[in-house]
């Protein structure tokens, strides 16, 4: 196999055709079946949604600067803010973030395939996402009788409140229902793609760890999301037809809803974190320039996490009036998830041992993931322990814990992956300086925002409060948290500038800027429409010995490339 044509063609010949230039016009994008373009469509929409939900987070943090309800227009409007912030971030950003945006782009490349197994289903999944987002966001422009824009159910949609509320909850429910189907289609597509489109020589244990993570995630998406869909339908039926399922006033059981909801939404936490862990395995290995440590343990722990995640949903309900026996069972099962998570962290750490570590922007995100996920995971021990959870449940301790897991871990990995594959996706390099500045702003801002929330929570500050007692000692922590949120916002603005600058004036990127060896680094940047001209040879994707640094292109080239063919 040879990849020399890429390196040699770069500076001498006119740029070869790639997926961005292979066809032109609006129609070539909105009807595209190319997994790379669909990945881009997802990526752009997800980043826009992230910006919107992030802006709402700033509104929330601004309201909480002072104990009184003085900045939000009303308590109801505040409630709608945190509902939308949560619903957009969970259903529109984090769940599709890594799999549908990055995964869509990278997965077929890593497999050496031309596309995913079902390109049309892939496009349909994107339009389901768009439709779901439309329904969910339409509530922003409709005010119910209380003159509040948005819905006030909380993203958890607990009845009876979600049934009694006068706002347009059914629209939001329909939106989440469609987003769920988008997720199911993506999962189904990726399972089949990984099962059937692997090159003959790529056995399961030769796959990049990112694919193990995506595969485990896809199984969760296909098996758990239908339960959410059914639950939402029941809720819509109850709201519109008055059939008693969850509302006690009609003979229903609101705790049953919580079981159904968390039966999906706990696996959903792993739908968010598993692909992120897959990204981190790639970041750590490639930027450490060393074979990943404990490949099989990392791979199997993904599968173990996916399996355990189905039987721990009750830990969201320790104070929901479940019986003490059920609580004890769910607490024990919950701790079982902590073990594979710990195994992953230790294996990443061991990968750094005797490595050759480049401190690049993606690597900073990878290392930050390990730190923040460790904090998020360890504080999960407090919440899994029954008696301690009773004190901490529904306080800011929980808010801090899940932000460390979802924002600090899942989104940090997503942004790490974005920087990692950016040169491959766009064919452009970005400013390492701007990348690192934005990373440090986000990392410092994040910790300033969420570390104080642990203490606030253990001191007793309940979550979802628009106002709080001035004499309980919460105010200082809230101020620190708000300052952190603003610092983070500045960091994201710098990141935006960095990417715009790269697109406008970035240098042409090398095909393999980091020295990685999984198959996506073997094709051109940006990849041609059909990805690979010939079926690439399958090798150990964590063995980096075949590549050497080439200063002229600013990336790595195969050692087998004849020196004369590369411009010096």
């Amino acid at each position: 196999m040879s990849t020399s044509y890429q390196s040699s063609a770069e500076e001498t010949a006119p740029a070869p055709e790639n997926y961005l230039t292979s066809s032109r016009g609006i129609a070539s994008w909105i009807f595209t079946l190319d997994h790379k373009r669909i990945g881009i469509l997802y990526g752009v929409m997800i980043l826009l949604s992230f910006a919107a939900a992030g802006f709402i987070a700033l509104l929330i943090r601004t309201e909480l600067l002072t104990p009184a309800l003085d900045r939000a227009p009303s308590g109801d409007q505040y409630n709608a803010w945190f509902t939308l912030h949560g619903a957009i971030m969970v259903f529109m950003v984090i769940i599709p973030g890594v799999p549908a945006a990055l995964g869509n782009f990278v997965l077929p490349l890593m497999l050496g395939a031309k596309d995913v197994a079902f390109p049309r289903l892939n496009l349909m999944s994107f339009y389901f996402w768009l439709g779901g987002a439309g329904f969910l966001l339409s509530t922003l422009f409709l005010a119910g009788s209380t003159k509040v824009y948005g819905v006030d159910t909380g993203w958890t949609l607990y009845p009876p409140h979600s049934i009694r509320t006068t706002q347009f909850a059914s629209l939001a429910l329909t939106g989440v229902f469609l987003l769920g189907f988008s997720s199911i289609f993506t999962g189904l597509n990726f399972i089949v793609t990984i099962q059937k489109l692997r090159p003959r020589a790529m056995t399961w244990f030769k796959m990049p760890l990112f694919l193990w993570a995506i595969y485990s995630t896809a199984v969760l998406q296909v098996m758990a999301t239908p339960v959410l869909a059914i639950t939402l339908l029941l809720l819509i039926v109850e709201r519109t037809m008055g059939i008693g399922i969850f509302n006690p006033a009609l003979g229903g059981d609101p705790v049953l809803f919580q079981h159904f909801f968390w039966f999906y939404s706990h696996p959903a936490v792993y739908i968010m974190i598993l692909p992120a862990m897959g990204v981190v395995s790639e970041l750590i290995a490639v930027h450490s320039h060393r074979h990943i440590f404990g490949y099989r343990f990392i791979a199997w722990s993904s599968v173990a996490i996916a399996m355990f995640s189905f039987i721990v949903w009750g830990h969201h309900m320790f104070t929901s009036t479940m019986s003490p026996l059920m609580n004890a069972i769910f607490s024990a099962l919950t701790f079982s998830v902590s073990i594979p998570s710990a195994i992953k962290v230790f294996n990443w750490l061991a990968t750094l041992y005797k490595a050759s570590i480049s401190i690049t922007t993606p690597m900073l995100y990878g290392l930050a993931f390990i730190i923040l996920f460790t904090i998020g995971g360890l504080t999960g021990l407090h919440l899994g322990t029954l008696q301690v959870d009773i004190h901490l449940h529904d306080t800011y301790f929980v808010v801090a814990h899940f932000h460390y897991v979802m924002m600090g871990s899942a989104l940090m990995a997503m942004f790490g992956g974005l920087h990692h594959w950016w040169p491959k996706i766009t064919g452009r390099t970005y400013s390492e300086l701007l990348g690192q500045v934005s990373f440090w702003l986000i990392f410092i801002g994040f910790n300033t925002a969420f570390l104080p929330q642990f203490v606030m929570g253990s001191l007793g500050m309940p979550r979802r409060y628009a106002s709080y007692p001035a004499d309980a000692g919460f105010t200082g922590y809230h101020i620190a948290s708000t300052i952190g949120a603003y610092i983070m916002a500045v960091g994201f603005v710098v990141m935006f500038v960095c990417f715009v600058q790269s697109l406008a004036a970035g240098r042409k990127a090398a095909a393999n800027p980091w020295g990685g060896n999984s198959l996506e680094w073997h094709c051109a940047a940006p990849p041609p429409h059909t990805n690979f001209e010939t079926v690439p040879e399958v090798i150990d994707c964590y063995d980096f010995h075949d590549w050497r640094y080439d200063a002229a292109s600013g990336g790595f080239i195969k050692k087998t490339t004849a020196p004369g063919r590369v411009p010096a």
Partner: protein
């Protein structure tokens, strides 16, 4: 001396010591592993940093089974202890003793009603010192949760279902009660006080005067106090609504002006506002819903005198100046 003491509120119940001990144990384990991971990471990143782009790849080991087993087994042992102690403690919290003092709790959007064995009730929780107290709780509308950080107790409150919380408190004082389960518009203001008395006698003295209108207080005055004490004020304002103001329920000032006039209800029926209508609406709030509002009002627990006071207060609003 405990360097982590600032992380938890003062210990004011029989459970607080156990909960805090377990919290500190888990926190110290967490700090140990966090520091270990952070220090190793920083050390590796410094020691094994890539100095030149032409450096060869790192040559560390690819796997090491004894190491994998070590970091699987040690955390496993540590979490088994967390699970066990947490379960034992939670079971104790779920099992009220036989001699506990019974208080009924009714939660509603967005106020509390605590009813004592003498059938009297109040918006605040009064607690006899040193005796176990068991709260039997139910909700009138949506989910709520009873939470007192100083006592470390919390449990959800579900409509048509009874849940319990119990504790013993020896320290006289005034503690914050929160609603910890999101319950809509005014969730963050659904707070009450938990007052622990100096002595049994002081507690009994308070019990004796609950729900009783003090000598010399007029019905109107008492009604005004009941307006806040019984939670009416969470939705019913006593001023003239400003243009564009969002109302959760009809203004009582408008109601007092409407006496003798027709009111229209959501089912299309109409009635002339009089005292009988006002009393009926307090006893069966969902029967006649004023057009433009929802059926959200819970049934208040009122003595005859309290009902009379509230009616008198409403009627008096027509002639009193706005505040």
């Amino acid at each position: 001396m405990n360097p982590l003491k600032w992380m938890l509120p003062p210990q004011k119940s029989n459970f607080a010591g156990d909960v805090d001990w377990l919290f500190y144990y888990i926190t110290w384990v967490s700090i140990f592993f966090f520091v270990l991971i952070l220090v190793l990471m920083i050390a590796f990143v410094i020691k094994y940093r890539r100095r030149d782009p032409n450096d060869p790849p790192g040559e560390g080991p690819e796997h090491h089974l004894p190491l994998e087993i070590t970091w699987t087994v040690i955390p496993l042992i540590l979490v088994i202890f967390m699970f066990y102690w947490g379960m034992v403690g939670a079971n104790e919290m779920a099992t009220p003793p036989a001699n506990a003092y019974d208080i009924q709790v009714s939660a509603q959007q967005w106020s509390w009603q605590f009813t004592y064995p003498n059938a009297k009730s109040d918006k605040d929780l009064h607690i006899p010192p040193g005796q176990p107290v068991v709260l039997t709780m139910t909700s009138q509308d949506v989910l709520h949760a009873f939470y007192v950080p100083a006592f470390r107790v919390k449990n959800d409150i579900v409509p048509k279902k009874y849940s319990k919380v119990w504790f013993t408190c020896d320290s006289p004082g005034d503690y914050q009660v929160f609603c910890a389960e999101y319950c809509g518009t005014d969730h963050s203001n659904m707070r009450a006080r938990a007052i622990v008395y100096e002595s049994r006698e002081a507690f009994e003295a308070k019990m004796a005067i609950l729900d009783i209108r003090p000598e010399g207080r007029s019905l109107e005055e008492h009604g005004k106090i009941m307006h806040t004490d019984k939670g009416c004020a969470q939705c019913h304002i006593t001023t003239t609504p400003k243009p564009g103001q969002i109302l959760l329920a009809p203004s009582w000032r408008n109601l007092s002006r409407d006496f003798g006039q027709l009111r229209e209800f959501t089912d299309g029926s109409r009635q002339i506002v009089d005292e009988a209508y006002v009393r009926e609406s307090m006893r069966t709030p969902s029967k006649k819903i004023v057009a433009g509002f929802g059926p959200t009002m819970p049934v208040p627990t009122l003595t005859q005198d309290q009902e009379d006071s509230i009616v008198a207060f409403i009627k008096s609003l027509k002639d009193t100046p706005e505040e």
